[in-house]
Subunit: 417 residues, 2 copies
């Protein structure tokens, strides 16, 4: 035991507990942490595929299943995995106890299917940890003030883990998944993509929102708010993963941390729109009510008192959005409605950008050198996104990865264990 | 609406909720009762096969899974069915709400895997019924004083239904299953077997214990204790089923109500045992500790100060019992140990027996007329059991059924609805 005893919350996703063998492997990993003297709390998802199976059962019963009952149905999946892992741990000589959401008072706000956690009573968990017991908690679920089961929606189990880590003041919340960390770019596209040793919450949030599917933005936001050190690591291989923190501890801050991308985007342009106050909400209002999620929005004002208005949506909302907007176009007397559903978004993310001018220029030049036309641009303090023709997606990602030298090796720190 | 509004607890077993289609069919049945103005509480089992599947998962994780965790695992099955039925009911315009054991405070005694119900808080259920809501309750589960989930073991969902009916003072507890009632004998053996209109708790208890698998003895005992009128009826067909009550309302009490049987029995005889006080417990003590369940026990005292001791066990305990008893035989200095694992038990059950002498004689004569040798006899106030060679089982059942005229038709009463 080289490192001091720490309190660690470990969350394992559906793939990591998808079979008896994998549950046994998870038990071995928990055993290793316990043997090293750490206090461990485990949070689990349902077995991979189970939540979908249950959801389908519900939809076979009713085209619009009652929300309260859907949550009762869906939360049965985690009940199975927490019981099985607890059995496996006990079998290996570790004291363990499973808990459902209501058994550790994970109080939620009563919004079925997308509840938010309001509070967690840590008395039971603290008592267990002091007594050398490993609590194994069902993720994704809570109970509202009226005693109804609630589920947390997408990214729910990650959020449970972060909330428990925050409530316990844990030293680290580890999200154990099927990738071994956060990469500078998708390794399937960029050969030289490199696992990041560290990344800030803000960067991770941008990466997560921009289609890097390692963590759900909600759990990252939650961890950032409560300053819970978050680590993404593999459930299957040893390795330090990627630590997500408030400030990087590395000496030199890289300008850019990673390149994210999103496929399956579409853009819609309404051109020749009379440029009067309130026109944006007249266009986007009906889209939001559909409800269709809008991502990038760009408006150019022309000299003739007319404006062009462009925004992006998910590709499978494209046809629906066009139908809605054709009516809006007539009402507004706009000239034209057009669109393109063969686009992709590529984003360069990094907190270092804040203090470095010229990142945008470097990106645009690099893309131009490859003859990639930029269709839209959007920027934030730590991110630049461009929309390009879908066929250039991979090329644009590799090009940006090279431009900012993201493939360069850094020395790795020692892994906690 | 011809009959007055009643409060009815309906329990559906695993086969009755084994698919989306069957759950929809159950919803239709509940709708019919509700439309007739009745207040309905539904209790459900898990989908058929689900409890076995979960149990196997648990045993694949650990050869001796922790009891607390096994109960968490197993109780997830009912969570799925109550959610699905509630959705189906809501979809049909019926107000419904699912409840897990802890949500209606089904307080159990903490014995994992075989808990007993201590109390049920009916506030929520009474409020729901008054508000026109149909509660749909997970059977087979409760929660102990420390907040642990408990399962009730075999016959658990029937027991939940009876307990809820008792706590609510319901007018009737209906056990909806894959048979349409309790029969005078197994219809697969006796062509003329007839569904009983009514039967007493005591008779049902004897029939249930004696291998008629319609109801678990535990739920019958519970219903008798709390005087809950219990009705067994088909989940799939219309029909009045069989009402189980304290006293039959039919004018004339039949002497015998039904013929039960048990296959898979075995008998063991220790002969030439010194006939001294305490010898029975020396023989049966080690059997009970094994633990092996003993059914009939017969002891004959001979003139030479020696006695023959015979008892029956389940057939799959036979070899084990013989091994244990060989040591006992040596210790006691008994002459011989022998056995027969090709026997069956046939029982004649009826409360009318109490006041009618000669039932035993009629049975013995009838069997003798068919040349069926009786190997053992045991009697209670309302039951006579005989052990015969297994090959005579069907013949003996038919013979007894004929002797007591059980195939005779009776006029049926109108069904409640």
């Amino acid at each position: 035991m080289t490192s001091p005893a720490r309190t660690i919350v470990q969350k394992y996703g559906g793939t990591s507990v998808g079979s008896v063998e994998r549950i046994q492997a998870v038990a071995e990993r928990v055993l290793a942490l316990r043997s090293a003297g750490h206090r461990v709390v485990v949070v689990l998802s349902a077995m991979s595929g189970e939540t979908n199976r249950l959801e389908e059962l519900g939809r076979n019963i009713s085209p619009r299943p009652a929300g309260r009952e859907m949550d009762v149905l869906l939360s049965s999946g985690e009940q199975v995995t927490v019981a099985l892992l607890s059995m496996a741990l006990i079998d290996k000589g570790i004291q363990a106890r499973s808990y459902l959401g209501d058994q550790v008072c994970i109080r939620t706000d009563g919004n079925f299917g997308r509840a938010r956690i309001e509070s967690i009573d840590t008395d039971q968990l603290t008592g267990d940890l002091e007594a050398g017991i490993t609590p194994v908690i069902a993720g994704f679920q809570g109970v509202d003030r009226d005693g109804n089961l609630n589920t947390l929606g997408r990214g729910g189990s990650d959020t449970t883990a972060v909330a428990i880590a925050a409530a316990l003041g844990a030293d680290e919340c580890q999200i154990c998944t099927d990738v071994d960390g956060v990469y500078t770019a998708d390794p399937r596209i960029v050969d030289g993509a490199r696992r990041l040793e560290q990344i800030t919450f803000e960067e991770m949030l941008e990466l997560a929102s921009l289609g890097s599917k390692v963590l759900h933005p909600r759990s990252v936001e939650f961890a950032g708010k409560y300053k819970v050190p978050l680590r993404v690591l593999s459930s299957f291989e040893e390795g330090p993963g990627t630590l997500i923190t408030i400030e990087k501890t590395t000496m030199e801050q890289p300008i850019v941390s990673g390149i994210a991308y999103a496929r399956d985007e579409a853009k819609i342009t309404m051109s020749g729109v009379p440029d009067v106050p309130g026109v944006a909400s007249k266009i986007l209002g009906p889209i939001g009510s559909a409800p269709i999620e809008v991502d990038m929005i760009v408006q150019n004002t022309g000299a003739d008192g007319l404006t062009d208005f462009t925004f992006t949506v998910k590709r499978n909302d494209y046809e629906n959005a066009l139908t809605i907007l054709e009516k809006v176009r007539e009402q507004l007397g706009a000239r034209d409605l057009s669109g393109d559903n063969k686009i992709a978004k590529v984003s360069v993310v990094g907190v270092g950008m804040r203090s470095h001018a010229g990142v945008a220029t470097r990106l645009f030049d690099a893309l131009a050198a490859e003859n990639i036309n930029i269709q839209m641009i959007a920027t934030s303090e730590i991110k630049i996104s461009v929309v390009v023709n879908e066929k250039y997606l991979e090329l644009a990602v590799r090009c940006a990865h090279d431009e900012f030298d993201l493939g360069t090796e850094v020395v790795e720190e020692e892994r906690i264990s």
